[in-house]
């Protein structure tokens, strides 16, 4: 029944995984989905320490599921049955009576070598069938990631699409008065856990970080006091960093290409900003736009064939799309107001943006051909969307009222499920990592 798959993924051994054709399922493309009622009793354990780990893992898991907006985790106090082990078939009537549609049963086993095994089964309570089973072996102190992997497995089992819970977010941590803001690079788990500062904020402000799609690297801009700001490469594992080239003018608005080989950015010369591409291996620079207008915020399509960017060549900033070699530059936004920070979806079908209109800021999405614009959020300042790796959720930063300080928020592509993202203090410029290896 349970096909045994053993694959080692960065310390995670998947020892069993089996996903049946789901009877219950969630269609995440629809705008008005009722959250699915799901029961998640505390993960079981053979002794006190395993049981405690089970409780901790369950809490992180439930939080992931709730925050996705797709699940309503039924209060544990309503549960009638306590599962005996992960391998016992539940009494489905006991879960149907509390209106659960899906039941998650899990177990934590300490393996004696510092590792734990977290085993999980997903049951369809309406049809009495197992929907999937998975087990992960991982060092015990890695238990939070095990929780996120279980959440991703549940998400995938029930929606058919990859999850985004085992991911991180790099952002700018802000402190201090508005006219003397200290801005540090910081990284945390997608759910706000484990925040770690990466720069000290003393000699420069860190701005606009972005993850490499392939390596433990970030590119960001360092804004100096007495010389033009420069784009840097930051190695997350070693903490080492280096400027990306040496330029007299400012370099800014960096973003990796989807294959991780290039960084697209704007380079300013004599006051004018154009879009360039730098090959990271050779550091060879290719000019992509040559226009007396401002050309900023380049973002490449996932197939690597096209680039979207913002330009004020038409008067005010609007969004454009061009071929990856800079040819065939076409405007795609024609609505009123100002369109900026276009970011191509990892699915390729949409471009997210910041729109300014009549004193308000909006996060929206539009098709690469300029049709189908939809606005998802609005406030005094909503800026800088970043996509979850599955292309279903956008994170951005918001200053809800003038002077209120900024915070990270997320919203589903449907426009539903607007939520504040937990950060230590004020935060801006979020960038979502790819799925962790």
């Amino acid at each position: 029944m349970n096909r045994i798959i053993t694959a080692l993924i960065a310390g995670f051994a998947v020892v069993l995984s089996n996903a049946a054709e789901a009877r219950v399922s969630i269609d995440i493309t629809q705008g008005n989905v009722e959250p699915m009622p799901i029961a998640v009793p505390n993960f079981l354990g053979g002794d006190d320490s395993a049981r405690q780990l089970g409780v901790d893992i369950t809490e992180v898991l439930m939080n992931d599921l709730e925050r996705s907006g797709l699940f309503q985790v039924i209060d544990q106090r309503a549960y009638i049955e306590t599962p005996a082990t992960v391998n016992v078939r539940p009494t489905f009537a006991n879960w149907r009576i509390i209106n659960a549609q899906v039941l998650v049963v899990g177990e934590v086993e300490e393996l004696g070598d510092g590792r734990i095994q977290v085993s999980t089964r997903i049951w369809d309570v309406t049809s009495d069938e197992q929907l999937g089973a998975v087990a992960y072996k991982t060092p015990a102190d890695n238990w939070r990631r095990a929780s996120h992997k279980v959440a991703d497995f549940i998400y995938k089992t029930l929606t058919g699409e990859d999850g985004y819970f085992d991911t991180r977010v790099v952002f700018i941590h802000e402190t201090g008065a508005k006219d003397n803001r200290i801005k540090r690079l910081m990284i945390m788990d997608q759910d706000g856990a484990n925040p770690v500062p990466l720069t000290d904020g003393l000699n420069y402000k860190a701005l606009t970080p972005r993850f490499s799609p392939t390596q433990q690297q970030i590119t960001y801009m360092a804004l100096f006091d007495n010389r033009p700001g420069q784009v840097y490469l930051f190695n997350i594992e070693t903490g080492e960093q280096e400027p990306l080239g040496t330029f007299r003018g400012m370099t800014f608005a960096p973003r990796f290409s989807p294959d991780g080989r290039d960084v697209l950015m704007s380079i300013e010369r004599g006051g004018n900003s154009d879009v360039f591409k730098m090959d990271l291996a050779t550091r060879r620079l290719t000019r992509l736009t040559d226009n007396p207008a401002v050309d900023v915020s380049p973002s490449m399509s996932p197939d690597g064939r096209r680039i979207t960017f913002a330009s004020d060549r038409g008067g005010a900033p609007q969004m454009y799309v061009m071929n990856a070699d800079g040819t065939d530059q076409k405007r795609i936004s024609f609505g009123q107001g100002r369109y900026q920070t276009p970011v191509w979806s990892p699915r390729g079908d949409l471009i997210a943006f910041t729109r300014q209109y009549r004193g308000r800021f909006y996060i929206g999405v539009i098709r690469p051909d300029g049709t189908g614009e939809r606005l998802l959020t609005e406030s005094y300042l909503d800026e800088g969307p970043t996509w979850s790796p599955n292309g279903r959720v956008l994170m951005f930063f918001r200053e809800p009222r003038p002077g209120a300080g900024s915070a990270l928020w997320s919203v589903d592509l449907t426009g539903r499920n607007l939520r504040r993202v937990r950060t230590p203090g004020d935060a801006s410029d979020p960038a979502w990592s790819p799925m962790l290896p």
């Binding site: 420069y204 402000k205 804004l223 704007s266 300013e268 401002v294 004020d312 005010a316 300014q356």
Partner: protein, 168 residues
């Protein structure tokens, strides 16, 4: 005007603090802000100091929303700056372009660069040696007025000239 001068003092002092700090990050030129906070003495500003520049010429010019063209008033101020700089030919300055908060971070960095360049090239056109001027953009990252209203935004759309070194 008084308030603007006060802000300049605060910014200059902070510059010195940050220049003294050390970090494993990108290197910072330790000469940042040297002499920028030379204060006014009892008999007026020290000649050739930042305060002197501010009194004699004005160190800031302002722009309309999303614009980088110099107004006649801005040109007049820059002409006085140019004249002042001719008096102190060893002095090097930094011209910083700033924006209000009603734009995105990346666009405003580009807009600030245009404002700094507009001021810098005007000074050069009036005979100031281009090598004496560094231009930088701060985008919307360094507002001088912390308010969120038309008046504050107008203050924050500027190009600011600051003494970098008095030379020799």
């Amino acid at each position: 005007m008084k308030q603007i001068t006060k802000f300049a003092g605060v910014i200059a002092a902070l510059t010195l603090v940050s220049a003294c700090a050390t970090s494993s990050g990108p290197d910072v030129d330790a000469t940042a802000g040297a002499d920028a906070n030379a204060g006014a003495g009892p008999s007026g500003p020290v000649p050739g100091s930042q305060s002197d520049l501010e009194n004699a010429a004005g160190h800031r010019v302002y722009f309309a929303y999303d614009q980088y063209t110099l107004t006649p008033q801005a040109q007049a101020t820059l002409a006085k700056q140019a004249a002042w700089l001719q008096e102190y030919p060893e002095t090097r300055v930094k011209v910083a372009g700033n924006c209000d908060e009603r734009g995105t971070r990346e666009y405003n960095l580009a807009l600030g660069a245009r404002r700094a360049e507009a001021a810098r090239s005007y000074l050069v056109s009036l005979g100031v040696d281009a090598n004496r001027i560094t231009s930088v953009s701060y985008g919307k990252e360094r507002p001088i007025s912390t308010g969120s209203n038309e008046q504050a935004w107008a203050q924050n759309r500027n190009s600011t000239t600051t003494i970098e070194s008095v030379g020799s």
